[in-house]
Amino acid sequence: MSPDDIEELYVGHARRIAGYLMRATGDAEVAADLTAETFAAALLARDGYRSDMGAPTTWLYAIAANKLKDWRRRGYAEDRARRRLRIERPALSADDVAELARLADEVTADALLEALPADQRTALRARVLDDRAHGEIAVAEGVSEAAIRQRVSRGLASLRQRIGGDR
């Protein structure tokens, strides 16, 4: 991944990532920690990105989702990448907290879909957002209808988990 790609990811997704993490954690301080850790990790892992992992946004959201999963498991936000880079997580002002809360409310379906693997994202977008029939999507994707149903189901389950932590 080139520096320009990292640049564009930060430009286009820092706030959406923060909103996603705020929505998932409900805690501005944790969301800020995880946002900082996500981008620090992306900076460190930049050379490891391969296009067969999916779109760069998917890769970035996958990092964020992993940081979120770690937080749920450990009970605290990991700061390994930040420590390695000696990044100080900026303190939050009252305005920042309010902004993160607002961002959490503005997490859109598109933003959440970014976190999914490409096949699930395509299926969910077609089925849920475009209201297309499973069979029609299957024809377009060149797979069975059952496969599309499975992708939609898995995608929805993944979104439920990422939004609220419950299945």
Partner: protein
């Protein structure tokens, strides 16, 4: 697209990333480039405003050259890869000026480039969004933030935008913040309105003929709680619903 400026957290985090990339080079990658990239990421937002320094972009932290401290004439076209720091896209100088406590600045317009996943073709930034970027040509010593910008429209105030460029959160205090943006050609004034205070007028800058509108800029000192900026037409009436300013200007 939306019309919200970044909070301090995002700008400060970008500065942290920038500094981290500069002090810990790794492998053979030019980390200055990454730093510049991460820093520049905070400059050119598709949906939000971000701000941080790009003046140290590349492998060097040298200040801008003396030649670079003089604004170019309005209408000057800067090819991609030229200028200090090197422009990422072809850009046109649309306004210049000098603000007290901030120094000379140069406002440039450009168009966003299309960014898409090479495998799936999925577009995550469309081509052709209007971008506005401001460069401080001789920033004060304590002024960390050297540039700022935004791509996209402010849908609730067509033709009118609000951007801010000011010091980093740790150095904010009462230091001036530059408020600037696009304004429709028919505007006769742009004012910052603060509850209970006298309005602050911004200077209008006529854009080049190729520009779809004009521009404005004004330096203000925080705090101005509840401040909004709006443009006014010949009849003296507000031209839009106005746009709220963001911290550190509005911080109490």
């Amino acid at each position: 697209m939306n019309d919200r400026a970044t909070s301090d957290f995002f700008g400060a985090l970008a500065v942290e990333l920038h500094a981290a990339a500069r002090r810990s080079p790794r492998r053979r990658t030019r980390l200055g480039d990454i730093a510049g990239g991460v820093a520049a990421a905070a400059l050119l937002t598709a949906a939000v405003l971000v701000a941080l320094t790009v003046l140290g972009g590349g492998d060097t932290s040298e200040p801008p050259s003396a030649a670079a401290s003089r604004p170019a004439p309005v209408g000057t076209v800067i090819p991609k890869g030229e200028g200090t720091p090197p422009r990422q896209r072809r850009s046109t100088v649309v306004a210049t000026g000098t603000a007290r406590g901030i120094g000379p600045w140069q406002l440039e317009a450009s168009r966003s480039t299309r960014l898409a996943d090479p495998e799936s073709g999925e577009v995550y930034q469309p081509e052709g969004l209007r971008c506005l970027t401001i460069y401080l040509l001789d920033p004060p010593d304590d002024q960390v933030l050297g540039a700022s910008g935004q791509c996209g429209e402010f849908p609730r105030t067509p033709g009118f935008s609000r951007l801010q460029l000011g010091p980093s959160r740790r150095r904010s205090g009462a230091k001036p913040v530059l408020v600037y943006g696009r304004v429709p050609r028919r505007a006769t004034a742009v004012r910052i309105l603060v509850p209970g205070e006298r309005p602050v007028s911004a200077r209008l800058h006529k854009g080049p003929e190729s520009s779809r509108g004009d521009y404005y800029a004004v330096a203000v000192k925080p705090p101005l709680p509840g401040a909004r900026v709006n443009w006014f037409g010949e009849n003296g009436r507000p031209g839009s619903r106005g746009i709220g300013l963001m911290p550190p200007i509005t911080r109490h």
